[in-house]
């Protein structure tokens, strides 16, 4: 028979990942709900998933390539930009959704028990659908420019997985903070924007001075975007910064999980 023990917990606690597994069906249903609901009562519906990155690509091409003369190597700039926009949009969308997810689910948190981590995790899962659909745009553009991807393409999802780790890690930190300090909501637009400029979405890494590359590489999104571009377009990839990014991504996720579980027990009282 199941046995439940309720006691005040103290100190830092071990990661309860097994519990997350036990609630995988709830995880699935919450993600499914978000996907179903997201484009309800919109005229364009799912088309928005294509319109957004396309518009961003057109704007970036004009502003940063035509006017600001940012180079993109041997690759046509629109393709270069789109390869940055897609993983970036997945990341920033997931991070933003995860950050707001707990406060947005306060009605659940104060009424039902389940591992709270299910909520931010489900919100970083839903972005995969958007990403998958938006990839059609990328495929179309590659056909248009007659670019044939190499064998690296099979590794592309791994970089997206890394983006998910970072988005979840940051989302865990910020969503838990958001429960207490709604200031986080006001911080998010700045954070997203600043982070994007620190990531090679609109410019190639080669513009960063060699001496600063290792600091730059501590931003795990550098490896995500560079890696995705390498997988799809075969642009150069620096292994050194890849490892730095990978370590950073793991640290962000791990610390996020710990912090989240430290704060979790008070959510229902504070939210």
């Amino acid at each position: 028979m199941e046995k439940v023990v309720i006691e005040p917990s103290s100190g830092w606690i071990r990661l309860k990942l097994r519990e997350l597994l036990a609630y995988r069906e709830l995880l699935y249903f919450l993600a499914w709900r978000d996907i179903k609901v997201r484009y309800k009562q919109t005229a364009l519906g799912v088309l928005w998933i294509l319109v957004q990155p396309f518009a961003a690509m057109v704007i970036f091409t004009f502003v940063f390539h035509r006017f600001a003369k940012i180079p993109s190597g041997d690759v046509p700039y629109p393709l270069f930009a789109l390869c940055g926009i897609l993983p970036w949009n997945y990341f920033s969308g997931s991070m933003n959704r995860a950050t707001g997810s707990l406060v947005g689910s306060s009605h659940l948190i104060t009424k039902v028990y389940f591992p709270r981590v299910v909520i931010p995790v489900s919100s970083v899962l839903t972005g995969w659908v958007d990403f998958g659909i938006a990839s059609l745009l990328l495929a179309g553009l590659m056909v248009y420019y007659r670019v044939i991807p190499g064998g690296g393409l099979v590794l592309a999802p791994l970089f997206l997985l890394m983006a998910m780790m970072v988005a979840l890690g940051v989302g865990l930190w910020l969503s838990a903070l958001n429960v207490q300090y709604r200031d986080v909501g006001y911080l998010m637009p700045f954070l997203s924007q600043a982070w994007m400029f620190l990531t090679p979405v609109i410019y190639p890494t080669q513009l960063i001075p060699e001496s600063l590359r290792w600091v730059y590489g501590l931003n795990p999104m550098v490896a995500v975007v560079e890696g995705f571009r390498w997988a799809v377009l075969g642009t150069p990839l620096e292994m050194g910064s890849l490892w730095a990014s990978l370590v950073a991504a793991f640290l962000i996720l791990f610390s996020g999980l710990l912090f989240f579980q430290r704060m979790e027990r008070g959510f229902a009282d504070v939210i």
Binding site: V4, V5, I6, F29, L30, R33, V37, H107, I109, V270
Partner: protein, 441 residues
């Protein structure tokens, strides 16, 4: 709890939960706690003086300024055996919801321990997680998953749930198009098909119309007969007496009675009559506190204080108040509800119903309600009040005072009907019509 050789499925030992006064956050947010204390310190200290429960607690991490805590629950211990239905009763703020939230694992206790054996489900409300944009069918799955049902289990019970809710035709309609009755029916249908070994229920039954409440009560009874253990928080004394075998009475965070449900109800009712706390010192009030009612009086039309009121007389109900702080002092609504000892509302009155506006509120005074020819049969009634500003609740207590109604000549002919045939007296006249034909059907 009641002896017997059945196994214990819930064991609660020394359970306590402490909140910082005026804040809902518990104690472990040390840094945040300090920062907020500085901002709210003055208001808190003022409020703390009014509460007898609050103990001064020196911050052991320096800072010097004292912290004030309130124990929502303190040193509560009990055991529940398999198959028992336990009612938890007590007035607002007694700790019922806190206890249920701890048992449901929504919030953590500050001290003590709970052990539960079996699959636990809690229903603190029905329809938790319903999404208005999703259809009835989709919401059944979503809500079921949130309540802890497995997908296969929902598949299996799906038809039964739909039949119970009587919503076959609207399954593929988004629930935002449902009437509130349909919404509640669907929500309850899902909840009713949970099959936990231990069920924790908050006043879920307080929703819906009477017919629906009956259906829910019936379903609750089924649950109990199936040998399931139920912990049931309620204000509905009738439901507690009928459904439960045991009762736990909470008063200011402590379990003051544990035993049979009939005795528990009478202990609770007696505790309501206990006038040890003056209204000014009551801690079970809710609302922002910008206006606080500090005394309730019943007077006759010449202003004489009344201890008891003969039915049929005109009385003035005085709600003496104090106002402080910044709030829009206009459009204030003062209201009273008269209820029976079993908590059934008999009637209400407020100045919005009469279309009266008090204008800007002074910092003190009394709201006075003149009730003409008090239409209550002799008994003791409980009086609730609430003070609102627009939609915002400033102050309310659900058992603020008692009104003793004694025999009086309501009908003007010396007869007073007993309260067993209704608590309400209605003016009326009879006549005889000799030649009126009976209706044809």
């Amino acid at each position: 709890m009641m002896g017997g050789d059945r196994e214990t499925v819930i064991r609660v030992e020394g359970l306590g939960k402490r909140y910082r006064l005026g804040q809902r956050e518990p104690i472990y947010y040390r840094t945040l706690r300090d920062s907020i204390a500085r901002h709210l310190g003055r208001g808190l200290r003022k409020a703390a003086r009014l509460s007898p429960l609050v103990k001064k607690h020196q911050d052991d991490h320096g800072g010097g300024d004292g912290q004030r805590w309130i124990w929502a629950l303190k040193d509560v211990s009990f055991e529940v055996k398999k198959g028992e239905v336990v009612g938890i009763i007590g007035r607002n703020g007694a700790g019922k919801s806190t206890l249920l939230k701890i048992l449901s694992r929504i919030t953590e206790p500050t001290e003590g321990r709970v052990e539960m054996h079996g699959r636990v489900a809690s229903l603190l409300e029905i329809g938790t997680g319903f999404h208005p944009e999703l259809t009835g069918r989709e919401n059944i799955y979503l809500n079921g998953a949130i309540l802890g049902m497995k997908r296969a289990e929902i598949d299996r019970k799906f038809d039964e749930i739909v039949a119970f809710a009587e919503l076959e035709r609207f399954l593929d309609t988004p629930v935002k198009r449902y009437s509130s009755g349909m919404y509640v029916r669907l929500a309850f249908a899902v909840a009713a098909h949970l099959e936990p070994e231990i069920l924790l229920v908050d006043e879920v039954l307080a929703v819906g119309d009477t017919a629906f409440q009956k259906k829910c009560l019936g379903k609750m009874g089924d649950v109990a007969h199936e040998g399931r253990t139920v912990v049931f928080v309620s204000h509905n004394m009738g439901a507690v007496e009928n459904l439960c075998q045991c009762g736990i009475v909470l008063d200011r965070g402590q379990a003051v009675y544990i035993g049979g449900q009939i005795d528990a109800v009478s202990v609770y009712l007696r505790s309501l009559a206990d006038k040890t706390l003056s209204l000014r010192d009551r801690t079970d009030r809710q609302g922002t506190g910008a206006v606080r009612v500090v005394g309730i009086e019943f007077r006759d039309t010449s202003g004489n204080l009344l201890n008891s009121v003969p039915c049929g007389t005109d009385i003035d109900v005085y709600l003496h108040f104090e106002a402080e702080g910044e709030f829009p002092r206009r459009y204030v609504t003062a209201g009273v509800v008269f209820k029976t000892q079993l908590d059934t509302p008999v009637f209400q009155h407020n100045n919005r119903l009469t279309g009266q506006d008090f204008g800007p509120l002074p910092t003190g005074g009394a709201f006075v309600c003149r009730l003409r020819r008090l239409p209550l049969t002799p008994s003791v009634y409980r009086v609730a009040y609430s003070i609102r500003a627009g939609e915002e609740c400033l102050d309310t207590i659900s058992d603020a005072a008692e009104l003793t109604v004694v025999e009086g000549d309501f009908f003007g002919c010396g007869l007073v009907p007993p309260s067993t045939h209704g608590v309400c007296l209605v003016e009326g006249r009879w006549r005889l019509e000799a030649d009126t034909p009976a209706p044809s059907i």
